[in-house]
Subunit: 267 residues, 2 copies
């Protein structure tokens, strides 16, 4: 058995840029996660993307050949945020500033979704901000008003942009910047990578001690720095955002640099 | 003749918070500007608001009793931005990220308005950003892409919010923050108060030497600081955003503090 796989029992594996990029699926990466699973390794898929629900990710993963995956194997930032808010503060009146996946995860944790009217009435516990493809001027105004009136400003993840076939598109971090300008203050909590909350949640799902866990991802700013923040080992794969020369230029150094996820099983 | 009016020949008078606040018009302020005009003073109305065209301001001002006003008596940030771009760079392919008033002023200066398709094609000279009530996710993405492809990032004004009957609403500064996050860089040029370009333009319209010009406005961060940046005297009126206690707490000190515009004629 190769050295890396021998060393780690648990794997926190990013999705976009690792198993696929946009519409393009990487068949060798699918084979790799299935091999890891066959070897008895524990795997949690860990993504900052809050636009899809965990059920939607299960559907997508099964469709592309990851047949064994269950909802509990997925920790995305929408789910992590909804669950953390529930654990820390109980069910909340939440204003969802994001895509459908965020609405679903908030509902499933028992939060009550409220509308812009609640924001203007100052009757909101938390504004929960992810990537919102349906952002409007009035939604920004209403959410900012709720924050000024005392609602928590909670963000799923800080990514300012993310790559698509068409080019970089605005991410949750762009929504955060708009709300910060409009409300006069920054987020009270950011759950996703590189911040700790999402790693803590993924580790508790995994149930394996830190020294035997490997983070795998394609970004220096979220995956590698996040792993370092969480004091976890990490492998950077070069199938997504980061290039080999980016690693040289960065102070964030992964433990392993892999051409693709499949190399994990060969080295 | 009272002391202040004796001292200044030219007046750069803000509109919102001085002549009106939202839907509420101040009749004594209207009387005051008409009296100034009758005394032979030169007046330019100077506003950071880019949502209306100069023609629309003329219409509004005439309707509420300022019968003598002409388009050339108005310098708003949309007009100033369009004119400055024309003078500095000639007619441009401009992507308008703002309200109707900005579109109109860009057109009147001979710029060619282009659509999101041009942004994705990287064929835009300047993204011109004001308060945009019709902001969408795709518009942010397209404009950020144009900026990354080399278009100038030009903003009409930096106000992050502005007061309305309903509460604070997002201003041009909120649009700037979103585009800054999505494009990875800040504006190349901001035209409106407190920055100098709009004061330079208003002064050239006025044609009166600086020592005889008074700036009148209701905000410390734009009007008073702007006047100081432009080395002009200024009067703060307390009918808008700033309160007397704000002046005490601020390092920006106006030359005069007036309860309302009418006091200008009494002191």
């Amino acid at each position: 058995m190769p050295k890396i796989v021998e060393r780690y029992e648990g794997y926190l594996i990013d999705l976009d840029g690792v198993l696929w990029a946009g519409q393009k699926v990487f068949p060798d990466a699918i084979r790799a996660v299935n091999s890891l699973h066959s070897l008895g390794k524990s795997i949690v898929f860990l993504t900052n993307n809050s636009t899809k629900s965990r059920a939607q990710y299960v559907e997508k993963l099964r469709k592309i050949g990851v047949g064994w995956v269950r909802e509990q194997d997925i920790v995305n930032s929408g789910f992590a945020t909804a669950k953390l808010l529930k654990e820390q503060r109980g069910p909340l009146k939440a204003f969802p500033f994001g895509d459908v996946g965020l609405y679903v995860e908030l509902m499933l944790q028992g939060h009550r979704l409220v509308t812009e009217d609640w924001c203007w009435a100052g009757d909101v516990d938390a504004v929960v901000v992810g990537m919102d493809p349906n952002v409007t001027y009035w939604k920004i105004g209403a959410a900012a008003n709720a924050i000024r009136a005392g609602a928590d400003f909670v963000a799923t993840n800080p990514d300012k942009t993310f790559p698509t076939e068409r080019g970089l598109m605005p991410g949750a971090g762009t929504m955060i910047a708009a709300l910060e300008a409009a409300s006069g203050r920054g987020p009270d909590l950011i759950v996703g990578k590189p911040y700790k909350p999402i790693f803590d949640m993924a580790l508790s799902v995994l149930g394996i001690e830190k020294s035997k866990v490997l983070v795998v991802g394609d970004r220096l700013d979220t995956d590698v720095i996040g792993a370092k923040n969480a004091r976890l080992d990490c492998a950077l794969v070069l199938t997504g955002v980061a290039r080999a020369e980016d690693v040289e230029a960065s102070s964030a150094k992964p433990n392993y640099i892999l051409g693709s996820l499949e190399e994990l099983l060969l080295r």
